[in-house]
């Protein structure tokens, strides 16, 4: 340790240490990803065995690609938020408030592109408000976003007087086919999901923003002592979840050419289940985008499988609840073992 002071910045190359335990190291690094992929493979196999007619036909996969993105698109930025040790339960209502802005601009201007921008902006602002309350007043995000969840849902109902709106005017527009059309038979929302997954992955793993997120979730005091702007990073994360929620709400509404004020209400459980099943720690500091991506498809497939296997739809919530409890517990136990 004597010579430490001088040798910062020189390019003296030392031999690499021998890389013997390659497999062990690989598993330590990518354990959760390997785990989630294994779960995915096993579940898929069992679905094929239990309901071969459903899971061997290509239609079911097209259906997955058209419906799973609606919640997976929110699950991805939500994963970043959970890694940073925060939570957002208000996104189902933000999906709807974004659509209120969309409908308002669409009906007054007839311009779908402007409507899209308005919807995204509303989502951004609603998310930013979550962040401002959490960071500015210093409250737990779990409680704040329960509040804003009710607030925005109430705002939607008050503003629209509980009415729903057809979106036939948007159908046939370029934006419509760009958002929920088909490309070579693949639903556009699936392509958007992949694009967003790549963007979020890069942001989380290859950008300073993501580096800050991991440190904040791991140890907020460390982040502050090391000069990370925790307030800005956290606010921006909430805003990103808001934008994603509004975007998902627009996709889901355009898909059926109709906007119900209850939009988003069915998405809370499966989105959270996808995040936690994907291996993101409820304690923060740990989580992967691949995990959430695969987790979303497992959750989506379970919904289909429950029906295909012959159980009633009532089972879905029970099973989602079970998945959340099991994956969160499993993670807590694994974490205790390494400490």
């Amino acid at each position: 340790m004597n010579s430490t002071v001088e040798d910062s910045g020189t390019e003296q190359r030392l031999p690499k240490p021998q890389e013997k335990p390659v497999l062990a190291r690989f598993l330590r690094r990518y354990g959760t990803q390997v785990g989630i992929l294994t779960v995915f493979g096993l579940m898929w196999l069992s679905f094929i065995i239990l309901a071969p007619r459903t899971f061997l036909s290509p239609q079911i996969y097209l259906a997955f690609m058209s419906t799973i993105p609606f919640f997976a698109i929110v699950a991805l930025p939500l994963t970043m938020l959970v890694i940073a040790g925060e939570m957002d339960l208000s996104f189902p209502s933000i999906m709807a408030i974004g659509m209120v802005a969309f409908v308002a601009v669409l009906n007054s201007t007839g311009n779908v592109f402007l409507a899209l921008l308005a919807g995204l902006a509303a989502g951004f602002l609603a998310g930013l408000l979550n962040g401002a309350i959490v960071v500015g007043i210093g409250l737990p995000s779990l409680v704040v976003t329960i509040g804003t969840q009710f607030f925005w849902r109430g705002a939607v109902l008050v503003l629209l007087n509980g009415k729903s709106y057809p979106l036939v005017a948007a159908k046939g527009s370029f934006i419509y086919s760009l958002l929920v059309g088909k490309l070579a038979g693949i639903p556009m929302q699936m392509i958007w999901l992949v694009v967003i997954a790549v963007v979020v992955w890069v942001l989380l793993n290859r950008h300073r923003f993501g580096a800050n997120i991991y440190v904040i979730g791991d140890n907020k005091q460390t982040a502050e002592l090391m000069g990370v702007n925790t307030a800005r990073t956290r606010m921006l994360m909430f805003a990103l979840v808001g934008v994603a929620a509004a975007f998902a709400g627009i996709l889901a509404s355009l898909q059926v050419s109709f906007f119900w004020p209850s939009l988003g209400e069915g998405y809370l459980l499966n989105t959270l289940a996808a995040v936690f099943l994907g291996g993101t720690s409820v304690f923060g500091g740990v989580g992967t985008i691949l995990g959430t991506f695969i987790g979303s498809f497992i959750i989506g497939a379970i919904q289909a499988a429950i029906v295909a296997i012959g159980l009633t739809g009532f089972w879905t919530e029970l099973i989602y609840g079970l998945i959340i409890i099991l994956s969160v517990s499993m993670h807590a136990i694994l974490r205790r073992r390494v400490e």
């Binding site: 340790m1 690499k16 002592l225």
Partner: protein, 253 residues
């Protein structure tokens, strides 16, 4: 203002609610000087350190670095000025990899903020084999910090402070939780800072540690500077007597 000082703090006061942590504290650090900061629990050592590192902003008082007044000292600004800190809390992110810990808050990145992961990995590996003295093949730049021993974690915190060309190194209770051997290594390291022509502020509960490496000792008591001594001019026993008297009565005599 005196340009001969590396760092100078004038009339610094800081309160947290009703608690007056620091009252009109004057403190300076010379070029190539190691100053030991002593004081009982609650004397204001950590608050003073956190003001120097930009984590807390003083309510009153002025800060000069190389004779230049620094108006709003933040953590990033302090780092630009070459003030690096090894915190009592280590300030590590235990679940993250070694390379992420080395570069917290100032990752090597391009102008758009995209990380240069390969470069950070290579730098970390070089530091591991050189300064940190990790030789085990089980430890790689991707290893999570939580598997490291107390001394290894301290090594990471120190190497991190040195990597970015520190001019002033602040060590806040660095021997806490270290074994005897690791403590000796650490004290040698503080001496090496001096040999390299840099300055250091060394805070420790242990008066023996401070006395053995510091050029000058500043004693804080209840938020005030109670006095300062050159270690060449005072014996260890005298210093200890004075410390006890200050803690009990608030004055040296």
């Amino acid at each position: 203002m005196n340009a001969d000082y590396r760092l100078e703090l004038k009339n610094i006061s800081k309160s947290f609610g009703e608690v007056k942590s620091l009252q009109n504290v004057n403190f300076n650090l010379g070029r190539n000087e190691v100053v030991g900061l002593l004081g009982d629990n609650g004397a204001g050592k950590s608050t003073l350190i956190k003001i120097i590192t930009g984590y807390h902003q003083p309510d009153e008082g002025e800060i000069f670095c190389d004779g230049q007044k620094i108006d709003h000292l933040t953590v990033p600004r302090a780092r630009e000025l070459g003030i690096e800190t090894v915190y009592q809390e280590r300030a590590l992110a235990e679940l993250q990899s070694l390379w992420r810990n080395i570069f917290i808050g100032r990752e090597l990145s391009n102008s758009l903020g995209f990380l240069k992961v390969k470069e950070m990995n290579a730098e970390t590996e070089r530091l591991m084999l050189g300064s940190m003295g990790f030789t085990s093949t089980a430890v790689t730049p991707e290893s999570a910090i939580k598997t490291f021993s107390g001394g290894e974690k301290q090594g990471v915190a120190i190497v991190r402070a040195l990597f970015f060309d520190a001019e002033i190194i602040v060590l806040d209770e660095p021997t806490m939780g270290l074994s005897l051997k690791e403590t000796r290594k650490l004290l040698n390291f503080v001496r090496s800072i001096k040999e390299a022509g840099k300055s250091a502020i060394f805070i420790d509960h242990n008066i023996f540690h401070v006395y053995s490496v510091a050029d000058r000792v500043v004693v804080l008591d209840r938020g005030r500077v109670a006095g300062e001594f050159m270690t060449t001019a005072i014996g260890l026993n005298d210093l200890m007597d004075k410390m006890y008297r200050v803690a009990e009565t608030g004055s040296f005599d």
